[in-house]
């Protein structure tokens, strides 16, 4: 019958539209993921900080009290300074002991799964003094497994990477900002960040310099191009709910972020063209960062800048955001500014 045919055609059309939409969404998602894996330069989880510690300190604490050692070190990223006490035949496991003679035969068992770490272990031997970067864990059942473990992210001989003072923060390639750090507070003390002292000469207040209406500071940082042009710019800003037409809209975090981005990059910016990602810090803080990445054209005749904006909540009434503007042509793998900015992000405190 005619109505049967109409219904059948309608069903087919709806089915086709649904399938096409779902397929398109999956494709876009996969493309986005592929892009994101390589392109977020300020990803805090890909570049976490490690706290340096002597193997002796960890082992002494462990021998004194297992529960104390667990509460201090379990799940913590550590750069352990010690000596290779043993090495397994498969080259994937080493025993790390203290540099000094000490009573007790306990050691930290380092397990490597990454190719780079395994290859490095192959070049090291028993007795070598090393720095091992990784996450500490303890045996699942205390009574059966009384070992301390470290899952090795990277390992260096002491000839390659000098020892770090205990308690110092560094990245897994050994990078550490060896400067006096100073603090800056904004948002009436709600936000405090630490930065290298040299940044004070490179920083200006956004409002005072007529660079905008948001509270915060701009830092001009050289990049590897070093030609004096197109320097990196980092903005650290606090966006208060008072800047909204309706202050209650501050609860609509995504909406506020979009409004901020549209204002800064221009109303014509296509939000769909920005790469977006949400990252929850895995350093125990649970801080959620929302990332947006795109390009910015200052004028028609220069290559566009890349812009990466990172948002995090700062209390009920505000949002803290970082805006990193950098030259499109710079090799980011050689750009130390990224490490310094990650340092600052990791050490930012929101009250």
């Amino acid at each position: 019958m005619k109505s049967d045919k109409i219904i059948s055609k309608l069903k087919k059309s709806i089915g086709l539209v649904f399938t096409a939409t779902a397929f398109g969404a999956v494709c876009m998602m996969l493309m986005g993921l592929d892009f994101l894996n390589d392109s977020l330069v300020l990803d805090v989880n890909k570049n976490p900080l490690y706290k340096s510690a002597e193997a002796k300190t960890i082992l002494d604490k462990y021998d004194k009290s297992l529960s104390d050692a667990k509460s201090k070190y379990n799940g913590v990223r550590i750069a352990v300074h010690g000596r290779i006490g043993s090495k397994k035949a498969d080259g994937k496991e080493i025993g790390i002991v203290s540099l000094e003679d000490r009573s007790g035969s306990s050691k930290i068992i380092g397990k490597a799964s990454g190719r780079a770490a395994i290859s490095r272990i192959a070049s090291l031997k028993e007795g070598d003094e090393v720095i091992v970067y990784g996450k500490i864990s303890f045996g699942l059942i205390d009574q059966i497994d009384k070992n301390i473990y470290i899952s090795i992210d990277s390992i260096y001989s002491i000839d390659e990477v000098k020892s770090l003072p205990e308690g110092t923060d560094s990245f897994s390639d050994g990078y550490i900002v060896r400067e006096t750090m100073v603090s800056k507070t904004i948002a009436n003390g709600k936000v405090m960040y630490f930065m290298p002292l040299s940044w004070e000469k490179k920083g200006t207040s956004i409002k005072k310099e007529g660079l905008g209406t948001v509270e915060g500071y701009r830092y001009v940082l050289d990049n590897p191009k070093a030609d004096g042009e197109n320097c990196d710019n980092l903005f650290i800003c606090y966006f208060d709910s008072k800047l909204l037409k309706n202050e209650d809209d501050i609860t609509d975090t995504i909406g506020v972020e979009k409004a901020i981005i549209s204002n800064i990059l221009g109303d014509e910016v296509d939000m769909g063209s920005l790469l977006m990602n949400t990252v929850t810090a895995q350093d125990g803080s649970g801080v959620k960062y929302q990332y947006y990445k795109g390009t910015y054209d200052s004028d028609l005749f220069t290559a566009p800048y890349r812009v990466e904006m990172v948002f995090r909540k700062a209390g009920e009434d505000g949002i803290l955001f970082y805006l990193y503007l950098y030259d499109n042509d710079v090799d980011m793998a050689k750009n130390d500014n990224v490490k310094d900015i990650l340092y600052v992000m990791n050490l930012t405190r929101v009250n």
């Binding site: 060896r178 948001v214 966006f239 800047l243």
Partner: protein
Amino acid sequence: MRNKTRIKTLIVMLTLACVFMLCGFAIKAVKLYDENSKLIDLDKAVKVEPIGPGGVDGTDEEGSVSANESSKETVSTPSAVSAISKNKAELKRTVNISVRSEEIRMDDKETTLSDIKEYFSEKHSDIAYIELTDDYAEAETFKEVMKVLDEAGVDYEVG
């Protein structure tokens, strides 16, 4: 009869779908209080000369920075061996004291002369430097703050 029921069901579903779509469009976008001003003017920012040997246009509201800066050294990838200083990386902080009319604030929190006196009666080795800002201060109040800091024997810069 059965087909009429099916057609009615389809029409109801399509109508509901349209209503949901319209609701989506009706959700208002978040607006800023001042849509005509830039939160950050990137065009202006990239045109300003970078700091370095040339300096920047304008000054930081924090005023001049003390020349207490050690060289930045990095422990880079394993192929490079760098000479590293033995100095420990220190976390030091800046203390900002500002006076506006008769109101005194320390690190953005309201305080009093006696609180400042008590605070600086102890040594704080984690302070890099102290900046005292005259933010349209009442003259006598500002002088009293300076007197308290002088008596406490702390170094500070007036900005």
